[in-house]
């Protein structure tokens, strides 16, 4: 099955359903959204985009956790870590000195099963607004 969505940042995007990641419950505050795609964008790399299939006005800038805080991998249960990639959500607040990432609640993506979830780390070490610069 093919999808076509129109977004403010990328215009029209077409993709097949095997690229969709399913959230049992969407990211906190967006629980009603279940299906997302991840766009690898050469121009903004390593930032990528997590876009809602159901509501194309909703999207998040994300970056692989290994690039900003590889230590958070050890906070995730080993059985969840297998075949998974952790991303953190980026708040693109301007200027660049105010750009933050949410280390407290990364997005766990299982590529093999095409499922994803926002997990909340128990450790109190991690901030929801960690400054990136």
């Amino acid at each position: 099955m093919k999808y076509k969505i129109t977004t403010s940042q990328f215009g029209e995007i077409e993709f097949s359903d095997d690229l969709v990641y399913h959230f049992q419950s969407g990211p906190a505050g967006f629980e009603e959204l279940h299906d997302f795609i991840i766009i690898n964008d050469e121009e903004s790399a390593p930032l990528r985009w997590l876009l809602s299939v159901e509501d194309p006005s909703v999207g998040f800038a994300i970056v692989e956790a290994s690039l900003v805080a590889p230590e958070i991998y050890s906070e995730v249960a080993p059985e969840d870590r297998e075949n998974s990639v952790l991303f953190v959500i980026v708040i693109l607040r301007q200027p660049p000195e105010q750009v933050t990432v949410n280390l407290k609640a990364p997005i766990l993506v299982r590529k093999d099963k095409r499922i994803a979830s926002q997990v909340i780390l128990d450790s109190e070490k991690y901030s929801t607004r960690h400054i990136l610069t």
């Binding site: 403010s8 940042q9 990328f10 049992q24 419950s25 990211p27 906190a28 505050g29 967006f30 964008d41 121009e43 903004s44 790399a45 390593p46 930032l47 985009w49 909703v58 999207g59 998040f60 800038a61 970056v63 290994s66 690039l67 900003v68 590889p70 959500i89 980026v90 708040i91 693109l92 607040r93 301007q94 660049p96 750009v99 933050t100 949410n102 407290k104 609640a105 926002q118 909340i120 929801t128 607004r129 990136l132 610069t133």
Partner: protein, 84 residues
């Protein structure tokens, strides 16, 4: 809101899969034990609210043009780095 009084060691059950036990009481602090299936996330309310706020702010600041300019300014642990 339903309000119930429980003593130390007593519990309440929510539906057939969630149990909340009073594990310890120390002055103004109450330690709760929660048994819930994996499909029922359990969080401290104030942390959950912070995450909702951060998610909403992230979604409101979706800006590809700004993201492009960050390639050289942000510090990532590996990958391409700007050496100024």
């Amino acid at each position: 809101m339903l309000i119930l009084t429980r003593k130390l060691g007593e519990s309440i059950r929510i539906g057939d899969s969630v149990r909340v036990v009073v594990v310890a009481i120390d002055g103004a602090s109450v330690k709760l034990g929660i048994e819930a299936p994996e499909s029922v996330p359990v969080h401290r309310e104030e942390i959950y609210q912070k995450i909702i706020a951060a998610n909403r702010e992230a979604a409101a600041h979706l800006n590809r043009d700004f993201a492009r300019t960050l390639k050289k300014t942000l510090k990532f642990k590996t990958g391409e780095q700007s050496d100024g």
